[in-house]
């Protein structure tokens, strides 16, 4: 086994490594900790990207660089995929892929017909990956290290859920500094939360965006508040289950509180959403909006999330924007959307099998693709099966 002896150079190499380690320690301790270099450019310049459809109509603004194939679902449920990006002008153009089918709800004649009290033992878990995110008008700054205003918004969300009898748990662990490593640290928080609070109904990571104020301003029930963006990770076994919850939340909010949900963004990260089915990331407003506006929408979101997960009856508001009602609603009276129509949402456990099934299928496909790749690069078939199923005795 030890067929090749080490050479004398090894000793020198050891010294070199030692010297390298000292340099690393010195360099790393000099790196400023409360700032990261990646995404903060938008704070210094109005550098956000604007997304247009193919006819040149403005769709949305993003506080980030846009890339080809990014996916976006607008407030009126239109699904787009970015087809080209003009980096110089910070403009992106998106191809319309079709309308998203949001779940439909059963019409309820009698409002007193509340669904039977649902079992609310399954907990809703909340944490904030970017624990320094703050709201300038209320907090006076964009970031308060480890104690960002985002925790106050998460707290409002949690309290509103608890008032509805839900076992909601907020973990206020700091994951600073605000960088990509924060997801490595918040992953640990998410796992801790899940371990301690089984069974879990849903997991939410609360953020705030960094686009200009107007992109998140809204009025719901005549009250000024912030819109909410839902972010879903693109590639993991829970995507369909997460998407189903996101669509259901949007469907309820569009009826009960039109204007509350800004849009759904399908991102390239995982955001720890592969840890548990029904994990979502919410962006409550932007750094330029007041914290109070975000807290107000957090309370409305709690009501929507409660109905989406545990079921319940809700009143539909008069649609301010009838664009959202273009979808065929065969089961319902097609004559003009009546005011104050009431609907019943069923608990999520009754309609979630599809997402779970697709998730399992996703894993099987991923395993199959892995096996094929391995087969293609492997030297022999035996080695392939050994690699996947463990080595077996053979002659």
């Amino acid at each position: 086994m030890m067929r090749r002896k080490g050479k004398t150079k090894v000793k020198n190499r050891g010294k070199l490594i030692g010297a390298l380690a000292i340099v690393v320690i010195l360099v790393t301790t000099m790196v400023p900790t409360n700032r990261s270099m990646a995404d903060n450019w938008y704070e210094d310049e109005p550098g956000y990207y604007t997304l247009f459809d193919e006819e040149g109509n403005e769709l949305t603004a993003m506080a980030s660089e846009m890339f080809k194939d990014d996916e976006y679902i607008s407030s009126d449920n239109k699904h787009y995929s970015v087809s080209r990006v003009n980096k110089k002008e910070r403009k992106a153009y998106a191809k319309y892929l079709g309308d998203i089918e949001l779940p439909e709800f059963e019409l309820v004649e009698d409002l007193s017909m509340e669904v039977a009290a649902q079992n609310k033992d399954r907990s809703i878990l909340i944490y904030c990956t970017h624990s320094s995110e703050s709201y300038v008008p209320s907090d006076g700054t964009t970031a308060i290290p480890s104690k960002g205003g985002i925790f106050d918004v998460a707290e409002s969300f949690k309290n509103a859920l608890q008032e509805k009898g839900i076992k909601a748990v907020l973990d206020k662990t700091s994951h600073d500094p605000h960088d990509a490593g924060a997801y490595r640290r918040s992953r640990q928080t998410a796992v801790e939360l899940i371990k301690k609070n089984m069974p879990v109904a849903a997991v939410f990571d609360i953020h705030r965006d960094a686009t200009p104020k107007h992109t998140y301003e809204t009025k719901v029930n005549g009250e000024y508040m912030s819109k909410v963006r839902i972010v879903i990770g693109r590639r993991n076994q829970n995507r369909k289950a997460n998407e189903e919850l996101a669509y259901k939340i949007k469907a309820i909010a569009d009826k009960a509180y039109p204007g509350l949900i800004k849009d759904i963004y399908i991102g390239r990260g995982e955001y720890n959403q592969e840890l548990s089915p029904r994990s979502l990331l919410f962006e409550f407003g932007t750094h330029e909006i007041s914290k109070e506006a975000a807290q107000k929408s957090a309370r409305y979101m709690a009501d929507v999330v409660n109905k989406a997960i545990y079921g319940g009856v809700f009143k539909a508001q008069e649609q301010a924007n009838n664009k959202t009602e273009k979808r065929g609603e065969q089961a319902q009276d097609q004559e003009a959307e009546p005011r104050q129509q009431s609907y019943r949402a069923s608990p999520i456990s009754q309609g979630e099998q599809k997402g779970a099934g697709r998730g399992i299928l996703w894993l099987i496909i991923a395993a199959a693709v892995g096996i094929v790749i391995f087969a293609l690069i492997s030297k022999s078939g035996n080695e392939l099966t050994d690699g996947i199923f463990g080595r077996k005795k053979r002659e």
């Binding site: 490593g181 796992v191 991102g267 463990g390």
Partner: protein, 233 residues
């Protein structure tokens, strides 16, 4: 949780278990040892973190067992050169992970790839360039992330940031474990492709390791008499 969701979670765990077991197998651990370590990682993940100080703790499945594995693999390294390369790759991977954490886009909408996967890729690339072996990749993947976490902890302490350092805190799904296993898979894929290009079937009893084609022999065969069937790798 409904049956569908429970099945999804169970299949997910089995999927990870399969990948983990096959990775350990490729590093030359026999079936039993690989199984034992995988079970250790999973069971160790369920045990609460062991507190080392007020803001420092360590997880059994996410850090202690992977570290034991890394040390075990290190002691079995073929040559002194490979050992030195493993150490160098670990330190460089640590720097890589630390720097990547700071430089990668971190707003949800700006990410090109999940940061938790980048660490394994960084460690894998660095380890492959330096160590050119699965073992070095594994060691660099594990130790690199731990070193980056410790460095961040030191900086946080100096800056009075209350962020806890929970080494391997997410257990089996911690960046430490993901990085170690992903680094091996990367080395495996690159190694196999190079092996195929350079050697083809003529060298089926040889492997591309430590920068050259050598005759590979299982380093733990001697201990496990019953594995007489796997003499050559």
């Amino acid at each position: 949780m409904s049956l569908g969701m429970t099945l999804l979670v169970v299949v997910g765990i089995l999927f990870l278990f399969g990948i983990g077991h096959s990775v350990l197998d490729r590093m030359g651990l026999n079936d039993k040892a690989a199984l034992l370590f995988m079970v250790g990682i999973l069971v160790g993940s369920l045990v609460p973190n062991i507190p080392l100080s007020r803001r420092l703790s360590i997880n059994i499945g996410g850090a202690i067992i992977p570290l034991i594995l890394a040390i075990y693999v290190f002691t079995k390294a073929g040559t002194g050169k490979e050992k030195a390369r493993s150490i160098a790759a670990s330190i460089l991977a640590g720097i890589g992970v630390f720097v990547a954490s700071r430089l990668l886009p971190h707003e949800p909408e700006t990410m090109l790839i999940d940061p938790n996967y980048v660490y394994g890729i960084i460690a894998g690339v660095i380890a492959y360039l330096f160590g050119r072996s699965r073992r070095a990749s594994f060691i660099a993947g594990i130790v690199g992330v731990l070193l980056a976490d410790i460095a961040q902890g030191v900086i946080n302490y100096m800056n009075n940031l209350p962020t806890p350092v929970r080494l391997g805190g997410a257990g089996a799904v911690d960046a430490v474990v993901i990085s170690g296993f992903l680094a091996v898979l990367l080395a495996e894929i690159v190694g196999e492709i190079r092996e195929k290009i350079q050697g083809g079937t003529e060298k089926k009893n040889m492997g591309y390791d430590k920068g050259e084609f050598i005759r590979l022999v299982d380093f733990d065969d001697e201990k496990e008499g019953e594995d007489e069937g796997e003499k050559q790798r």
